[in-house]
């Protein structure tokens, strides 16, 4: 049951995007989000969409897997859409036949519809681009990238390596905890716990026999891991060398230039083609 959930949803194929440096991918994502928010008309957004489509095509991840990430925020999308559609303070109310679509505070305007579409488009691209990052980058690479990008904070005495370690251990433990949850759930089911029937109180009560062993297991693991790290003299000292070093290549240069071009293009669109905001 839980085995069907693949955490981090990494899609294991080889592609241009997979091979990019995680740092450049993170930076590109940030740049892309900036571009999406900078764009103040549909031309700018279309430019972003074009770049996103190129990215998806270069990643060799099936489109369905990418679209699947939309499912999780479908509710949020619908909610914002309805809110904007009904309450956007536009001027020209939509008239169907003879009836203007206006009831009290609810006022459906052409500007509202336009703005709603714009917003949907924006959110859609934000989600797709970030799921493209997680689909093409392993969690380990991602933390390595974040650690490397946060290096400047070291000058402010911020313990970047500790943060990175915490993050990578947390990511590492998620699959183990999922496995364990699965096992404990099965064990309690074999002892007659019923997770599927009964009212909400019964179901919440049925979770206790899973949570307690899971918590105790997590503590045990943490303690064991701590001991193992102590035994190998881990002190979290700075300047540790890395087994896998991140290096920039020609790919990353291309991605970087693409990002710069995208932001420049969006700014030009804003300046010359007017704004809807």
């Amino acid at each position: 049951m839980l085995k069907d959930v693949t955490f981090g949803q990494y899609y294991p194929v080889k592609s241009f995007v997979h091979n990019c440096d995680p740092r450049i991918k993170i930076l590109f994502l940030i740049g892309f989000i900036v571009a999406v928010f900078l764009a103040s008309n549909f031309y700018g957004l279309a430019l972003c969409a074009a770049v996103l489509v190129i990215g998806i095509l270069c990643s060799r991840v099936p489109v369905q897997s990418i679209l699947r990430s939309i499912k999780g925020i479908l509710f949020l999308l619908a909610f914002t859409a309805i809110l904007n559609l009904f309450f956007y303070a536009g001027e020209t109310t939509v008239v169907i036949g003879e009836i203007p679509l206006q009831w009290g505070v609810v006022n459906i305007t052409y500007e509202g519809i336009y703005f709603m579409l714009f917003l949907m488009f924006r959110l859609f691209m934000l989600i797709l681009s970030s799921s493209l990052l997680t689909l093409t980058t392993t969690p380990v690479n991602l933390t390595d990238g974040i650690e490397s990008l946060l290096t400047p904070l070291k000058w402010l005495r911020f313990p970047v390596h500790v943060l990175a370690l915490v993050m990578s251990i947390a990511l590492r433990m998620i699959p183990s905890l999922m496995d364990e949850t699965d096992r404990i759930m099965n064990a309690q089911k074999a002892r007659g716990t019923d997770f599927e029937h009964g009212n909400i109180f019964k179901r919440v009560k049925a979770i206790v026999p899973i949570l307690i062993p899971l918590l105790i297991g997590a503590m045990r693991r943490a303690e064991e891991l701590g001991d193992a790290m102590d035994a190998r003299c881990y002190t979290g000292s700075e300047n540790r060398t890395k087994y896998k070093k991140l290096t920039f290549t020609w790919r990353d240069l291309i991605v970087f230039l693409l990002c710069a071009a995208l932001i420049a293009g969006v700014v030009l669109c804003n300046v010359y083609l007017g704004s809807i905001l």
Partner: protein, 309 residues
């Protein structure tokens, strides 16, 4: 209860890029009264198979959403899957799986990690309360819990009000097993029950299983990596490899197939290794690979005037 499986297949993560075929066309029958061993390399499908036995893994046809597939013209229907545990048909979604689970007790690997209650008593009584239709009287619960704890060799008066987390590792495992046998299942399935115990603890555990088997639990099925344990205890052994059943034989016949077992990445019991060594020296010992029988046969051989020294 007799257990029959025919053409049993199972795939994890079906229809995704991570699909794993865990069982391929498994055919296996376990007769009532057997002390059945299941051996196989890691990832050979043993655990997946035993989880089918009490409906923790449901066959596609037993799932709520299941709709029978229509065959295209000219397509041959795949062989019908059969999975029958006693009178329960596990391919049918109308089967009462909770009732089945009360008849087929399941002890997972490292069962001590599933303990959760505040006291040993509560933890052991958990399954009993879950399975009973009406609330049981406190006296009945107490008798059942006492019996279960005494069966696994714990002193009821000493442990019943202790926290299970204050017990030693071996005691925790006994409590966990007591929590499964408290409902007196007719079939007891154990996944590596002796893993991580010291040699004495292993022996005691096996003795305990035999005791249960002798007195009220008709069928015991256990998964093991320890060939000595298997040779010593089982009446019949199934060998899994890559999701399929390779052999189903009594240990006496199974451990004669040394080359096959080794090629499947499995070990041999000490007795089988010794028999092979003696054979190289030209001495034939015909034993059933239990230690007791092996020693007897060797003594007999020596007494027969064939002393080596």
């Amino acid at each position: 209860m007799r257990i029959t499986a025919e053409h049993l297949n199972y795939t994890y993560n079906q229809a995704s890029e991570f699909a794993v075929h865990a069982l391929r066309d498994v055919n296996l029958t376990v007769e009532e009264g057997e002390f059945f061993g299941i051996i196989g390399h890691t990832g050979s499908g043993k655990s997946t198979f035993i989880q089918h036995l009490n409906g923790l893994i449901l066959l596609p046809s037993a799932q709520k959403k299941y709709k029978p597939k229509k065959l295209k013209k000219g397509e041959i229907a795949p062989p019908k899957t059969v999975l029958q545990v006693g009178e329960y048909d596990l391919t049918d979604k109308k089967t009462d799986f909770r009732k089945l689970r009360s008849k087929v007790g399941m002890v997972f690997q490292y069962p001590e990690y599933q303990l959760f209650a505040e006291t040993v008593f509560e933890d052991v009584a958990f399954g009993l309360k879950n399975f009973s239709e009406q609330p049981l009287s406190p006296e009945r619960i107490q008798t059942a819990v006492r019996q279960a704890l005494e069966t696994v060799g714990l002193n009821y008066a000493e442990v019943w009000d202790k926290s299970p987390f204050d017990l030693s590792g071996g005691q925790k495992r006994r409590v966990a097993i007591a929590g499964v046998i408290v409902t007196r299942p007719e079939v007891l399935v154990l996944d590596e029950p002796a893993a991580g115990l010291d040699p004495l603890g292993k022996q005691e555990l096996m003795a305990l299983l035999h005791e249960i088997h002798r007195s009220w639990c008709k069928t015991v099925i256990f998964v093991s990596h320890d060939m000595d344990e298997v040779a010593e205890n089982c009446t019949k052994v199934a060998v899994f490899s890559e999701g399929a059943v390779q052999f189903v034989l009594p240990p006496k016949e199974l451990f004669q197939k040394q080359a096959e077992l080794l090629s499947l990445g499995l070990d041999l019991p000490v007795t089988a290794k010794l028999v092979a060594l003696l054979k190289q020296k030209g001495i034939d010992i015909d034993c059933d690979f239990t230690k007791k029988d092996f020693i007897q046969k060797v003594q007999k051989y020596l007494q027969g005037g064939n002393g080596v020294c």
